[in-house]
Symmetry: C2
Subunit: 156 residues, 2 copies
């Protein structure tokens, strides 16, 4: 691991890394807060509900509650409540799991898929606005940085 | 806003920004999960508790519960529970707020400060490990990117 610190030679590189981490948390928190606000104002919905729909949309064969909460790191109880509401509104349905008589899966209905497509399009547009400060080559550079970070973490 | 996409000319730049956002969320989620794990294993403590102590450490004059939860975006109820436990363990104390007879502030005791210093040192070391894939000039570049992103968001 490099210990030279071209960013600021007056402080150890561990401090610079710590500041980068705190800055990253703050920036992603701001983006997330703005996404929550827009979901509420424009669609009267919430980020956890959007995330559950996104997970279901990516799994046409359906997901168990435990699979949804693993993917999203929200509690099982919260996921169950959100899915129940989606079912009540005709946006999702519960289906039996072939190998497990007691478990059920949820999946989106065609109406749920249609609504999620609208939300996802809006969400992509918001991210495009909010991340508009990052453009062109910088996107590729940032993406490469994050890949390197993840590889480094995986190697530990 | 730039609409050219050198990262991948086959997709609109909004898709590339969306992928960057999802990748960023995933990476920060991994770092956070590892921090939670190390706090639990090495210090038998939690990330919300660490965050509350960090907020109190930065405010020697003390903070109200509402100020802590605003800074950390955790619910007031959670903050109150964490502070109560810190008080029971002699790591924090409640002090009266001069202008408001009903409100109280919390602040760290010397013992609390001492413990937080140990935790903060460990935390800085973990971040230095986990973000070890980002070194030298890349730290400055990334930091500049995030500044630009934040400025762009502020301007909207």
């Amino acid at each position: 691991m490099s210990t030279t610190n071209p960013a600021n030679s007056a402080e150890p590189i561990s401090k610079t890394r710590l500041r980068l981490w705190l800055k990253l948390l703050k920036a992603s928190g701001e983006v997330e807060a703005e996404l929550r606000r827009r979901l509420r104002v424009e669609f009267d919905t919430t980020l956890p509900r959007f995330d559950v729909m996104a997970a279901l949309d990516r799994a046409p064969e359906g997901l168990r509650m435990s699979e949804i909460s693993e993917r999203l790191r929200v509690s099982n109880g919260n996921v169950t409540g959100i899915v129940e509401r989606l079912v009540e509104e005709g946006l999702a349905l519960r289906v039996a799991v072939p190998d497990d008589r007691r478990a059920t899966c949820a999946r989106l209905t065609p109406k749920g898929r249609e609504l999620f497509a609208v939300l996802a399009r809006a969400h992509e547009g918001w991210i495009n606005d909010l991340l508009g400060g990052v453009s062109g080559d910088d996107l590729a550079a940032l993406s490469g940085q994050i890949d390197r970070l993840m590889r480094h973490m995986g190697k530990e």
